[in-house]
């Protein structure tokens, strides 16, 4: 009885996932490979596509790197330091997961656009793309480093200190090695998310070619083959990142 129910549950889950996710993604793949290899190659290596892939991967990589450093710093302060309002700040970290990304994009346009209150005109540049990606991916590194930092045995650090190690040495030799897997898996998730990010970038990237926006332009101009080709490249990239994250033992969350 339980076995039969289990089979039914498995079947229904597979069906649901297939109709919503797997069949549509298969359609993209099949569309992309339905053309001749040279057409596919042309679609993903034309100057615009290459530039878009370059900008997207570069910005994602840069934001993941900055996010790894700053996220670790924020996690460190939130765990090791005590100050009034800490719980509020800690709760705020999840804001980018809760706030619709288009709202973030609109806010960045207001802050760094033509009417910038600080006179900082970053909108429509690659710099603002990195700022937007830092915003949407902030929680990944912070939330993956925090629990590890909390469980870290501080006696080791005290022992190192009593043996005369400086703070810099303790951080590099004791704390950082323990945090490294959490930082890497958090940064990998941030990278994966950044490659596919679109909502926060819509309003602030007029001429900066972003892979997702190029795909959208292809769909709009009725060029599904070109769109599917570029999409397939992005899907394969995401799958590689997914496999790497699994290898690292990280968990994909949010």
């Amino acid at each position: 009885m339980a076995r039969r129910r289990g089979g039914l549950a498995l079947g229904l889950s597979t069906l649901y996932l297939s109709v919503i996710v797997l069949i549509p993604l298969a359609a993209v793949t099949i569309k992309a490979v339905s053309q001749s290899p040279s057409d596919f190659w042309q679609a993903v290596t034309n100057p615009l596509a290459l530039r878009a892939l370059g900008v997207t991967l570069g910005a994602a990589l840069l934001s993941a790197a900055i996010g790894a450093v700053m996220g670790t710093l924020v996690a460190f302060v939130l765990i090791r330091d005590e100050f009034p309002g800490k719980r509020f700040i800690n709760g705020l970290i999840d804001l980018p997961f809760a706030l619709p990304t288009i709202v973030a994009g609109l806010a960045l346009l207001a802050l760094y656009g033509p009417d910038s209150p600080f006179g900082v005109h970053l909108a429509y540049t690659r710099a603002v793309v990195v700022v937007a990606l830092l915003f949407v991916t902030l929680p990944f590194v912070v939330r993956s480093v925090q629990p590890v930092l909390l469980e870290l045995d501080r006696e080791v650090e005290e022992a190192a200190a009593s043996l005369g190690a400086s703070n810099a040495v303790i951080f590099r030799r004791v704390v950082l090695p323990a945090l490294r897997p959490a930082i890497i898996s958090g940064a990998a998730l941030a990278f994966a998310r950044a490659v596919g990010e679109i909502g926060s970038l819509w309003l602030i990237t007029a001429k900066v070619p972003i892979a997702s926006i190029v795909i959208y332009a292809d769909i709009e101009s009725d060029a599904p083959l070109a769109a599917a080709s570029l999409a397939l490249v992005l899907i394969v990239l995401s799958l590689i990142v997914l496999v790497l994250i699994r290898r690292l033992g990280g968990r994909v969350a949010h």
Partner: protein, 272 residues
């Protein structure tokens, strides 16, 4: 690590300044811009027919997508954790796909299957059903992007609580349903609720996937995020104020979501 006072203060200042510039400033500017011309003006923009229809369409999307994904999520988590086997393992590794695929690709994928020239396009056209550039397609997109949250929140809880109690219940003659309602569901409830909150936030805020499959007609296929997008891309002072007003509505919703998340995660830790 024994940190000197100076080092402590500079670390704290660096972290807080970073968060202030990156997180707090954008939200403050949205509220400021919305109410710049007074509360009445902002309220006027929030209550235009287009804005009200966008809000109700967004809520409708979430009201359909979240329950479906919750039922699927709990079932799927049970299959992955309790049943195991090869197909369950495959399911486990594919669940995260919606997190990794760009929303634009989601829209493209749905168009290729359910669009007029798509795989099932002729079938739906023959029956007079419009999926893409209409509400059903937007719904599919919303379900797609918010699909993994419940599974990912519930599965680790199921692993943690183990199945001794379920087996005991079965030994004592409880049916599968009784075991599920009386034993399994109560023990995973915090995970389910947390997953529901996360998927609701995502369903209400989705823009990329929905944009591709929406016809962008105010009053029909504009959700609140799409309204922000459309108005912010238009020229004129009224349009941008209207965009800020809709953005404020979304920001208020997300602050509520955030509060729920924070309260829940502290309650969850207490119940452990």
């Amino acid at each position: 690590m024994l940190i000197s006072n100076r080092a402590k203060w500079s670390l704290r200042a660096a972290a807080l300044l970073y968060l202030l510039a990156l997180l707090i400033l954008p939200v403050v500017v949205i509220f400021f811009k919305t109410f710049e011309h007074g509360f009445g003006v902002a309220w006027g923009w929030m209550t235009t027919p287009a804005a009200i229809s966008a809000l109700s369409l967004s809520l409708l999307m979430a009201a359909i997508a979240v329950p479906l994904n919750t039922i699927f999520g709990v079932t799927c988590a049970l299959v992955i954790v309790r049943r195991r086997g090869r197909l369950a393992a495959v399911l486990d590794s594919l669940i995260d796909l919606p997190f990794l695929v760009s929303p634009i690709i989601v829209g493209l994928a749905l168009t290729l299957v359910y669009g007029i020239h798509g795989w099932f396009g002729t079938f739906f056209t023959d029956h007079g059903i419009r999926i893409i550039f209409a509400v059903p397609g937007m719904l599919l997109a919303t379900i797609f992007v918010s699909l993994p949250f419940v599974v990912r929140e519930v599965a680790p809880v199921l692993v943690e609580v183990g199945d001794e109690q379920e087996q005991a219940a079965a030994t004592l003659g409880a049916s599968d349903w009784q075991t599920f309602w009386r034993i399994t569901l109560p023990s995973i409830r915090w995970g389910v609720i947390y997953g529901v909150i996360l998927s609701t936030a995502r369903a209400l805020g989705e823009i990329g996937a929905v944009l591709v499959v929406s016809s962008l007609v105010a009053g029909q296929t504009l959700t609140l995020p799409l309204l922000v997008y459309q108005r912010a891309s238009q020229l004129g002072p009224g349009a941008i104020t209207s965009a800020y007003a809709a953005a404020t509505e979304l920001a208020v919703i997300s602050v509520v979501v955030l509060l729920a998340m924070t309260t829940l995660s502290s309650r969850r830790q207490q119940s452990r």
